[in-house]
Symmetry: D2
Subunit: 343 residues, 4 copies
């Protein structure tokens, strides 16, 4: 079985395992204060080309999202998110468990717009009973989105402006950021994110690390006591070096970019093949996730050979998700393309 179900089904990029082995017996202090974490922070800062206050390494996406909302929001505030946003749908109520409501806006291809945010806030503050509803305190978006689509730099700047107008923090989930950055259609750089978001993260788990996300906090006030929160929510690893070493490797000699490029080029091959064979896509996603609408014929042809993940039912078949990653083998892509029937 060749699996295209997700971008986290293998272990880690081999260079990461090598680095873990090489450094294994070095004794370091714990809790993210070791020299590997420091080195990784410096390398990331060099890529950001922008002033940020802190960089913190965290085990996974849900944890980073819940720390981000807990950090950004006052007790009576909620987080604006697309109704398809990961925090709105797939994190078991993690934001609510920190005491905050997720305020959903209808998505367009997984995205929300500055106009929607402004309209929501304007209506909120215009209401005579505003205090009987949840005050919007931040905007949560992800780049790329749940549907693999991208915010443009223009869209991001507009959202920032809306945030400024209504006193909202802007938090960007970058669990799959590696695949956005490598995408020809993308015009949002790490530096843009560092300047426009109050906090954002650079995903590691889905980019070849065993685990780990690098949370970048621009604002000094938010950053100052963040490590208390990190510890309080069980997110501060005793062997913090495990995360530092991995990000240090990812940001050495362009490995992070290389991982992204590889996945994007393999995704492009799959995309062209599906399109060429006459399949429609649920959304036009330019990143490492594809959502072809497959009929019975294709599903039967794949059975037992190629695993995609089920997304939703669709007229005449099923929308399936195919993912590529750092680990996708070109020969596996070749094989699927070869076996793909006409729609």
């Amino acid at each position: 079985m060749i699996r295209f179900e997700s971008d986290y089904q293998e272990g880690a990029h081999p260079k990461i395992l090598e680095a873990l082995a090489q450094t294994n017996f070095e004794q370091t202090p714990g809790y993210g204060t070791d020299r590997f974490c420091e080195s990784a922070r410096e390398k990331i800062r060099a890529e950001l080309k922008a002033e940020v206050s802190g960089i913190h390494f965290i085990s996974g996406g849900t944890q980073t999202n819940l720390l981000g909302t807990a950090m950004c929001l006052k007790p009576w505030q909620g987080a604006l998110s697309a109704d398809t946003g990961h925090i709105a749908v797939h994190e078991s109520g993690s934001v609510e468990a920190t005491g905050h409501k997720v305020l959903t806006l209808p998505n367009t291809l997984g995205k929300i717009s500055a106009a929607q945010i402004s309209a929501f806030c304007r209506e909120h503050y215009a209401s005579l009973t505003a205090e009987h509803t949840v005050q919007p305190g931040m905007v949560y978006i992800s780049q790329p989105t749940e549907y693999g689509t991208l915010y443009s730099l223009k869209e991001l700047k507009d959202i920032r402006q809306a945030c400024n107008e209504f006193g909202l923090k802007l938090f960007v989930d970058g669990a799959r950021l590696v695949y956005a950055l490598a995408c020809p259609e993308n015009d949002v750089t790490l530096s843009d994110l560092a300047r426009l978001a109050d906090a954002f993260y650079i995903g590691g788990t889905k980019a070849g690390a065993l685990l780990g996300e690098a949370l970048v906090i621009r604002d000094a006030e938010l950053d100052r006591s963040f490590r208390y929160l990190l510890k309080q929510r069980g997110a501060m690893l005793a062997k913090g070096r495990l995360l530092g070493i991995q990000f240090d490797v990812l940001f050495t000699d362009g490995l992070y970019r290389e991982i992204g490029s590889h996945a994007i080029s393999q995704a492009a091959r799959l995309r062209a093949a599906f399109a060429g064979a006459g399949y429609a896509f649920r959304v036009p996603s330019p990143t490492n996730q594809l959502f072809p609408n497959l009929g019975e014929k294709a599903l039967r042809a794949f059975e037992g050979k190629y695993a995609l993940s089920f997304w939703e039912d669709a007229p005449g078949g099923k929308v399936m998700r195919a993912c590529t990653s750092w680990a996708t083998r070109p020969e596996d892509v070749d094989a699927l393309i070869r076996d793909l029937p006409k729609a």
Copy 2:
């Protein structure tokens, strides 16, 4: 510098790194449902020799403790703990962040007793204003304790009985359990813990894993929906295999026991040397942590050569903590013993 500051200053036991490398390209489903996790669970169950409902792998100790309290307590309940308990002192208010108070009892050598628990509960329920105070809902202890001391089987059984009498859950923090189990003075087995505690965990982070604790839940009711909580608090790793592989290795061919024995034997050598040189100990701890009271002479002799961690000031010097682990090299112990001046 030779470091005895903690038992988590190196990476992982080499066998763990080997296993990660060997399995690296195998594709698995995520979130702890892979074959490595299953295998690790089976091996742990075999050691437990007792019926338990579930075994879950979690990144670290604070996270496991907060999940445990959130799982065991009703909203108006608190956790009884020694005033030196990790949840009471060193977890940044993680239990309070889940909405619960830690109800502290004065420790004796890091321990609390069944008699203290019963007295607290009796007084609570006898009060006319019981409802104006926090209802005790669980007991939190650790084996070994923060001071490296051990509960005996008799003490543990008595605590279980007190819990039964007052409707309390019993949760045992086993972050350093490996070092209790390997200790000649210890008479509490894994099987005893599985039968006496509602939930307990087998520490990995301090026992040679990169990270990871194995939470064992006896009660079916507590276990049934635990994975929701795991996800909600950001504790469910996408690449859950990372934890499964490690525990699988630790519980293969007696590695877990071997790691414990090694650390305990090196700790015994240090203990004998300190005692022989005339040093007193803060507490008589039989496990992998020693708390010698060192004067200026010893502190100067160690300077720049041996790192211990500061514990507290004491008359005539400082109580320092020395830890051994799976990674402690006998020749490093030799060296320290050689350089240790008379008290």
Copy 3:
């Protein structure tokens, strides 16, 4: 200005003020343990004609709702509610502040159905990633609803059955229950609610009390420690008698029924007048709230004379809410009817 904006714009029914004055100097113990609370509980129990575990008096609706959800839900669970439900929209995220998500279902005239609940739960448990979403743990409905509509006994029984099938608690918000009970269209009695709901409440604030809701808890397990929660959330009044005296009066000599009947008969007069003059209603609500769709002509005619509350914009005008209550004066209704222009 004659006000029909809400049912809580006056003080209290005169009999309540009389009782407060008469009992004022009697010394009682605090916290809801006084003889007035006891007497009120007995009178309510007599009306319920069903076995219930506890009756607790609470200051207001939002507080009762948040106590109810905190009591019913496990940490990883959420409350199913109509998307128009008070907890979903108008309580400032109070449920989320207790750590729980409100899971909304699309309403039909303010109501949700057993079929919707079952479908939601079936889909939830069928999902391979159920644990990545919020587990439904209870159903929240109100009688009457936000739109003044009523659940029939058949609908309520079906919801109870769906709750049984999926392990859900059923909580009924009865802030305006007095007006449902007095409604000719209603076939759900207090006794039905006591038997079908795990907990429900009998509103006082909108039924002539200064403040206060009587929460009825059927289940012994939920009730046992409820007073801890009551105190913990700041809902236990030192002078609990204030609530006891009021409910004692409301449930003496049928005052509660009388209050309901009066409001319903005045609402019926308004309803007939609006209908007769050619106005449509946003929803066909048989209780004390009416939602006529008023055009410019009517709005101008009312200006400065009759206050209704704005509900929403509508084609050709505005949907306005008119409420009657225990305090509505028939002559005020006469006046409005007299001044009501043809649509």
Copy 4:
């Protein structure tokens, strides 16, 4: 039976009941926006003689305390309090239920000092593992304390200075403030509190109101969105006028001062009598609470005639609490004095 058990065992001061009756049929908007609340706010502001941002009326003390801590603290912070503080002991973990730890300092006659606060903070920030413990974020004190003792203006100013030095908010629980203000020994005015505390409250429940506390928030930033929090925690009454009317009465024609003076003078008579008869006091409390140490003889003499509340066991007897209030009748004090045996 003549009861001196607490200061909340009667209804309300007759002037309050009169005002409720007189205003009963006036129609007002809800939620604390009515003219009575406005009038009460103006009268309180006039007494404060200091710039404050907002005044909010809340049902009770526990609720006000939990709103205050939720308002003042960041998620990772805790509240410093005397170990005898009401939030530390008698509120069922209400602060913890908002996610925060109560950090206790040992009390001296119910009080904590600026020196203790500074020492705690200095030690906290000096620690290498500060982030593994709870960051102090505010100081909670009450005036008078649980033991009826008073902070002097000098002590309060010192505490304010310590708060400034370590970035702490200062919150003063004034549930019994009326009795402090009327006390000859007291040198802290309402105006001092308004200038020195970030927030404090003027108790109503124990000062002749049916219920209600007036929370005064000095800081504009804290005040701006406070009403969201008020609503979210179920503390915003629909008929907010009920609180407004009461505080309006209390602050009209010096009633608040009169209530305090009456209670203090009756307490002074009791104090002199107990002292004269040879009884010792648990603490030298100058306010409306006395804590005489009574032996068997006195307890028997009181049996069935005078009720005091049990405080704690003491050598040779029991410490009992006697309270006076606005409602204490001089002839009842006469009677007790007459029946008091020599110690």
